[in-house]
């Protein structure tokens, strides 16, 4: 299922869209023209019919009508100012096609900010309330860098395609998905957006929930408690011990027991001893420290102070 997506993106990037006829003008000049045209408001006389007079043979243009943005009723742009709702007033573009229109995508001549102002004028809701302060906005990522409008279904909204889109830029996370343990993102059984809000949030790493731990609890509510006996680093921050995108150790752990536990515990009993065996001791084989202290996420047993019960 991933193959068609990759090819579609490549084709779109390399062959599907030829350079705009105004690409030799430079972005500053194009933006100046676009702002001027937008302020003048010289819209076409026939709306979409004016545009499609030339663009009807372009499959990508016509694919708009397969998707929600092509609906001619409701709140769709085609039910309003039609093509010019997003691409701006036609002006003199119909006289040879060289006068700039608002174009979209990572390689468009219109700035990301200008492109996004079009999208945000309709998509202004609680989900996107932190967009303006978000990492993607500050990095000048255009909505159309991730989203496709002239399609039946936007790939990034598909469970089987979203991770491929995100990891085109987030390559470190893509690599970590294939480590010994990871969340099941490499099989598309979990999506980046299960934890992150790409449109920004006020939580670190643009997480969906109020905190990192709250995000983890949305699938791991058994760890939430509160429990009678708490393990401080657990309630402090799940990432004290776990790496969410992948690890060379089991269970997404930063290191394995006993050495991980011994990075915080060196009492005068067994925690202080050196272990280096070949799995031939109850301190290293099986669950290592967890053979006895199995309740590392906290215990609700009256006798559970040592997280054994």
């Amino acid at each position: 299922m991933k193959r068609p997506l990759l090819v579609a993106l490549l084709v779109s990037a390399a062959f599907g869209t030829s350079a705009a006829p105004w690409s030799d003008q430079g972005q500053d000049a194009v933006m100046e023209t676009l702002i001027d045209k937008f302020n003048q408001g010289n819209y076409s006389t026939k709306g979409a019919d004016s545009c499609l007079m030339c663009h009807k043979k372009n499959d990508k243009v016509m694919a708009l009508f397969d998707g929600v943005h092509g609906a001619t009723s409701g709140n769709s742009p085609m039910a309003g100012l039609q093509c010019e709702a997003c691409h701006g007033p036609q002006g003199k573009h119909n006289r040879g096609g060289k006068e700039p229109m608002i174009d979209f995508g990572p390689d468009a001549m219109a700035s990301a900010e200008a492109q996004n102002s079009v999208c945000l004028s309709c998509h202004d809701d609680a989900e996107r309330q932190s967009w303006h302060a978000s990492t993607h906005n500050l990095e000048e990522v255009a909505c159309a860098s991730c989203h496709k409008v002239h399609v039946v279904t936007d790939p990034i909204l598909e469970k089987t395609a979203q991770n491929s889109v995100c990891t085109q830029c987030h390559t470190e996370q893509k690599m970590q998905m294939h480590q010994r343990s990871s969340h099941p993102m490499k099989w598309d059984e979990m999506q980046c957006s299960d934890c992150h809000n790409p449109h920004g949030s006020q939580t670190d790493a643009d997480l969906n929930r109020i905190s990192l731990n709250d995000t983890c609890y949305s699938c791991h509510a058994d760890k939430r408690g509160p429990k009678l006996w708490e393990h401080e680093p657990v309630i402090d921050d799940c990432s004290n011990c776990h790496t969410p995108h992948g690890s060379m150790n089991d269970n997404l752990l930063k290191a394995r027991a006993p050495l991980l536990c011994q990075q915080c515990h060196s009492g005068n009993v067994h925690a202080s001893r050196p272990y280096g065996a070949e799995g031939d001791s109850a301190f290293t084989a099986g669950g290592s420290c967890l053979n006895c202290h199995t309740q590392v996420h906290g215990s609700n047993h009256p006798q559970g102070k040592a997280l054994q019960r």
């Binding site: 490549l10 009723s73 202004d124 059984e189 009678l228 011994q262």
Partner: protein
């Protein structure tokens, strides 16, 4: 620093900003004669569209773990339904049904309908995570009783069945845009997981998992031209149907994860000025559990009132001071207030240090943070970024009550070079804090020289480089490098240092409209050093992944498309301990080869026949995974290492509506 930036922001705010805003609400529509717009060339969407694929296949595997990759955990034939069908009605409603691997062990299906103002959806998903079917144990669970019998092999892993339902609606009210969302999700989780009990010698068990989590979310928002306010509620209830582990001889061995619930109410919003945007959030939360305690006859209470209240406040101001300068100031305060009751509980007297009576400690936590970030455009395509962050964390009953962390970073982004994009970023951080102390509640059992790594003084250096080279539109090469070094400057015992570095290289080449190629490689190394009492240890983790693929669409008069993907991944962790007789830990590594091949033949304009083949070669080994009775005094679940080849062949017929 922060004050200076605020002053700078205020001074530069007076400079006019040339922001391009093509919002629909700002469009100059005075000259439009929309009544003449007929849209004769527009194409009405068909009443019914989409693709449906029906497939039949065969999986050959001898390890249930292969089911993670292949979506089918048993040997033999299977059927699968994939597709997406959309129905458009004349009154503007659009209804979509989707299916992905429906009929297989990991699959999902969805149904949604909407008309632009109202949307309803229902989603079903089954997610299986399978660890092993090689476990061996003589222990059974009869209610809460642990009983022994003939050995058997429970499948370790969990199956999640998730159903989501929701409705969202938007309307204009008194000139404002009003949105509402209501969502409900229920997830049942069943299977077996590894736990261990002490009798007092440890016994590993495959404990049943049987729980349900229900979640309700509700959000309403109101938006004006330059502001938005949202009020949301999140409620989550966890219900565990498993019981304690009780043994006739050894008594109550293990408490279950308690039923619990969490509630959060959040008020958030933004206010957008001509050059600055403020966004903020205040959230109040409460986590509760009052499950009956197990083994309560030894406890002063029958059930414990656990309650944790949380408060989270965030505020940010993002200022586009000039066309070149952007400044962001942010602050955060979060608090965890444990309001639970506290009692003295007699403890299991396993060793002298555990003590006979202990009081449950109520852990509180506060986090206060302030940060400033500056982006300055030196010239078109040249941007300089810099930032500073201060983070203070205060923890009650901790070995260190307060930690302070300062982070300073800077970056350079070059996007206007001919054929190249370059990003450089580097940062320094330093963590220190209050006196590290041993106190009765936290660390009387610890060596006073020990510094827990999440509390210890730490200096960190990190750097990142991103390079993108695109010599032509059809060819791109990306190289990303990361480096981070942690030095725990005041640690004699514990983690003393760690270095994490790696790279990812990716090449995409679209040879022509028929043939595309891609390849990638990535490596990561993590080296950590730690000291114990009279010994030192090293951990060296190493990972490599590489792969590639192709797709060719030009065979049999363009009717046949073939493609393939290959991925190799190898995780290796080696450790040594200078103080141990056998200083080198034994093997702990994993590798896999994943191959996917397909051929798709176009039977007609609207139908295709597709053959998929997938191969998974998987191997992992862990020195700790030993036979049930290999270690005296320890009962394990047996050797759980994996070593398998798995194949899957699937033929599917698809039709476009």
């Amino acid at each position: 620093m922060k004050l200076n930036l605020i002053t700078l922001a205020i001074l530069t705010a007076a400079t006019p900003v040339l922001a391009a805003d093509f919002s629909l609400s700002k469009a100059n529509t005075d000259k439009i004669s929309a009544d003449k717009w007929q849209c004769k060339r527009c194409v009405a969407p068909s009443n019914l569209s989409g693709d449906i694929a029906i497939g039949a296949g065969y999986t050959e595997l001898d390890d249930v773990h292969a089911g993670n990759a292949l979506g089918q955990e048993e040997d033999g034939a299977f059927g699968a339904l994939n597709g997406r069908v959309t129905a458009n009605s004349d009154n503007g409603w659009r209804t979509t049904a989707t299916a992905h691997n429906l009929g297989m062990d990991n699959g999902d299906a969805g149904l949604s309908t909407g008309n632009g103002s109202v949307k309803l959806y229902a989603d079903y998903r089954q997610l299986n995570k399978l660890d092993s079917d090689k476990a061996s144990t003589p222990y059974y669970f009869s209610g809460d009783q642990l009983v022994s019998g003939p050995s058997y092999s429970p499948v370790l892993g969990t199956e999640r069945n998730r159903v989501s339902l929701g409705i969202s609606a938007s309307t204009d009210l008194a000139g404002f845009s009003v949105d509402g969302d209501l969502g409900y999700r229920t997830e049942e989780k069943q299977g077996h997981k590894v736990v261990s009990v002490t009798t007092p010698s440890p016994v590993n068990l495959a404990k049943p998992v049987d729980s349900r989590t229900d979640e309700l979310t509700a959000t309403t928002s109101v938006a004006g031209d330059n502001w938005l306010a949202a009020l949301s509620y999140l409620g989550s209830v966890y219900d565990n149907d498993t019981q304690e582990v009780y043994h006739n001889t050894y008594g109550s061995l293990l408490a279950p994860e308690p039923d619990n619930e969490a509630h959060q109410v959040t008020l958030s919003g933004n206010l957008r000025g001509q050059s600055g945007v403020f966004d903020g959030r205040v959230s109040l939360g409460r986590m509760i559990q009052d499950s009956a305690l197990v083994n309560a006859q030894t406890s002063p209470i029958q059930s414990w009132d656990g309650q944790v209240d949380t408060l989270d406040m965030d505020a940010r101001y993002t200022l586009m001071a000039t066309s070149r300068l952007r400044v962001q100031l942010a602050g955060r305060y979060s608090e965890r207030d444990n309001q639970s009751s506290s009692f003295e509980f007699p403890q299991y007297d396993f060793n002298a240090t555990t003590g006979l009576v202990s009081e449950n400690v109520l852990l509180d936590r506060e986090d206060t943070r302030g940060s400033a970030k500056v982006q300055y455009r030196l010239a078109k395509g040249y941007r300089l970024d810099a930032g500073y962050q201060f983070d203070r964390k205060e923890r009650s009953h901790s070995a260190r009550e307060t930690t302070d962390e300062h982070l300073l970073w800077a970056g350079l982004k070059l996007t206007d070079l001919d054929l190249w994009k370059v990003e450089l970023k580097g940062g320094l951080s330093q963590r220190d804090g209050s006196r590290y102390q041993a106190n009765d509640l936290s660390s009387s059992e610890e060596n006073p020289l020990l510094r827990k790594y999440h509390l210890a003084d730490r200096d960190r250096i990190e750097a990142e480089v991103k390079l993108r080279h695109q010599p032509m539109a059809s060819l791109s090469v990306d190289l990303n490098l990361q480096f981070a070094d942690d030095d725990y400057t005041d640690t004699e015992l514990g983690l003393t240092g760690a270095t994490d570095y790696g790279y990812q290289l990716a090449i995409s080449y679209l040879v022509n409209k028929q043939l595309s190629l891609y390849g990638f490689a990535g490596q990561q190394w993590i080296d950590a050093d730690q000291n114990g009492d009279g010994w030192s240890a090293e951990i060296n983790d190493e990972f490599v992944s590489l792969g590639g693929g192709f797709e060719y669409a030009g065979l049999l008069q363009d009717r046949l498309t073939v493609g393939g993907d290959y991925l190799f991944a190898n995780s290796d962790s080696s450790s040594s301990n200078s103080g141990a007789a056998n200083s080198q830990f034994d093997d702990y590594y994993q590798y896999s080869h994943s191959v996917g091949l397909f051929a798709q033949y176009r039977l007609s304009e609207r139908s295709h026949l597709r053959l998929d083949y997938r191969y998974e070669r998987y191997y992992d080994t862990d020195y700790a995974s030993v036979a049930v009775d290999a270690v005296e005094g320890l009962v394990t679940l047996g050797d759980l290492d994996h070593n398998y080849n798995a194949h899957q062949l699937m033929l599917s017929y698809s039709i476009s509506l």
